[in-house]
Symmetry: C2
Subunit: 337 residues, 2 copies
């Protein structure tokens, strides 16, 4: 094989000093070179197949151009478009994404973060945060929380507007004539679980109503939603509408209703949260709250890059707007109360 191209070869082809070439090829110092010169250097590097030795650079600068992205489980359909948004924003800045799943398990998360820290990462994007604890990363690490936030400290985050979304769902149900409305809440150690539960109670109270039942689902999964729905339906036979903490819980609820011989929406209306892909093709098509998945990921990565460039800046908390998506799973109750 040919000897690999060096930074000197790149500098020569681009007619600049080696130091300038090096700055232009490092995402963290690229803005010190004029955009036109930087473009010429990047082109020269591409022509020569030059690959910067990031391990050496990482050792010298004590950091890398790799970001850790930690989520509960990629198989939950809410995460792929978020991770794709993260990756696109990182790539535009010359960064790469190291991906890990935790299954929401605190020990698995700790092990993963320890392994990732060994890579001298530039920062972390975490979708696994619990409401009352800080991520086990130390104050010197750049972190942005995505789709979750914490009350335990001052950490940057990008989340959808859970409150506005659930209030819109409750308003829709009340307009359609529902008065006996229950909630299958998400886990109460997550910000999303708590905020949606609060918004559910506030939304009902604004119409002078109280819930006919609230059951907390053990996880944001179809199986946990199924179990929570069984418990709810065994206790509150009079329910005409169920507000689920997310789409997966709503799908579990579909299964529990079917097993009890109840039809959705004729006997019980159901709503979700997230508008995960392909929900429009479910039976019945689920009424839900659309969150801007891709934008949430993209914004989180932009925010992390800001924090890496300026670690002392105040931690922003970004809330993105949501949209009520009305489909077939909601109708008026058979006998309005």
């Amino acid at each position: 094989m040919d000897k690999p191209a060096t930074i000197k070869d790149v500098a020569e082809l681009a007619r600049v000093h080696a130091a300038t070439a090096s700055r232009a090829l490092n995402p963290q110092t690229r803005d010190k070179v004029s955009p036109r010169t930087a473009a010429r250097i990047v082109e020269a590097a591409r022509t020569l197949g030059y690959s910067p030795n990031s391990a050496a650079r990482s050792l010298r600068t004590r950091t890398s151009s790799v970001v850790g992205v930690v989520i509960p489980d990629l198989r939950n359909p809410v995460f792929p478009p978020i991770v794709r948004g993260v990756e696109d924003a990182l790539r535009e800045a010359g960064y790469l994404a190291l991906l890990g799943n935790t299954d929401g398990d605190a020990e698995r998360e700790r092990d993963l973060l320890t392994t990732m820290r060994g890579q001298q990462l530039a920062g972390f994007i975490l979708a696994t945060s619990r409401r009352d604890t800080l991520p086990p990363l130390g104050p010197d690490v750049s972190v942005v929380l995505v789709n979750r936030r914490t009350e335990a400290g001052d950490i940057a985050s990008v989340v959808p507007d859970s409150g506005a979304g659930v209030r819109a769902v409750v308003n829709l149900l009340v307009e359609r004539g529902h008065r006996r409305i229950a909630h299958l809440a998400g886990p109460q150690d997550t910000s999303t679980g708590v905020e949606r539960h609060r918004a559910f109670l506030d939304g009902l109270a604004a119409h002078g109503l109280s819930p006919v039942g609230v059951v907390v689902s053990a996880a944001f999964t179809e199986q946990a939603g199924y179990e929570a729905a069984q418990e709810l339906l065994a206790g509150s036979a009079a329910v005409t509408a169920i507000v689920a903490g997310n789409d997966m819980i709503a799908l579990g609820c579909y299964r529990a209703l079917e097993e009890r011989g109840l039809r959705c929406p004729e006997d019980v209306s159901v709503t979700g949260f997230n508008d995960m892909p392909f929900l429009d093709k479910q039976r019945p098509a689920l009424t839900t709250v659309r969150i801007p998945h891709y934008d949430i990921g993209y914004e989180a990565a932009r925010l992390l890059l800001e924090r890496i460039a300026n670690p002392g800046a105040p931690a922003k908390r970004v809330v993105l707007p949501v949209q009520l998506i009305t489909r077939d799973s909601v109708t008026s109750p058979a006998s309005p109360a």
Copy 2:
């Protein structure tokens, strides 16, 4: 802050030499230490919050414990469980996954691989391979292809049995009385597209039948499948069953049928390939071929770890069995030919 723990601190707590501790904490040399001793050292490292400086190790060994995982688009539901399988197998061996999307674009792929190579990765898992080209990585790099293979050279791969899957689909349709069967093929620069097309023709020929139409979809996406189905339906009015190259193409086909006022399955039966998640809840529930997504990813990572440990070994080509999943999108034709 406290001074970070060193390898000497870990060795002291675990009562071993520093060299032994170092070997136990490096996934590539862990098997040189007895499992009990290794477990004690890992426990000591965890207690002390010790984080091995992988950047330094990477520079010394000219490799890292990070693997590049390159896919077309994480938002195609076939990939999340594959990537999850990859990540689980890597994690068990102390490796991490660096994830990138290419949108099937050759230039984006080349740029991504160049950036990743700068990280001194241990190897690559690629789901983006074209049938007739080698990945642009050079012969010194450990590579495993996942869900795709190439005819251009001797590269390890893990794929589902496309041929057996499509033949099972064709047999089902013929058994139900279909004789006017068409194919919406996947892109013919991919191994999956070509192998499924061949199996379709072979399957029909085994029953003495010829296709009433074959249209090649520009991509494995719903939109491309929709456009290919429009073209097929404009040309072959007599079709009673359509074998789609994958589930996404089948969903596009649903949309094209609906627009022409044709019912599935009463007027036209449709089949897919992959059994991506939540298909059982589609309308109508799609008859398809289930591939072992997670296992494909897990096997590919195991195969890559084998190749990293033993780069000179022959490149295995692993084919995993598939399963016909019969749902509502197939019925007998209204007027059997």
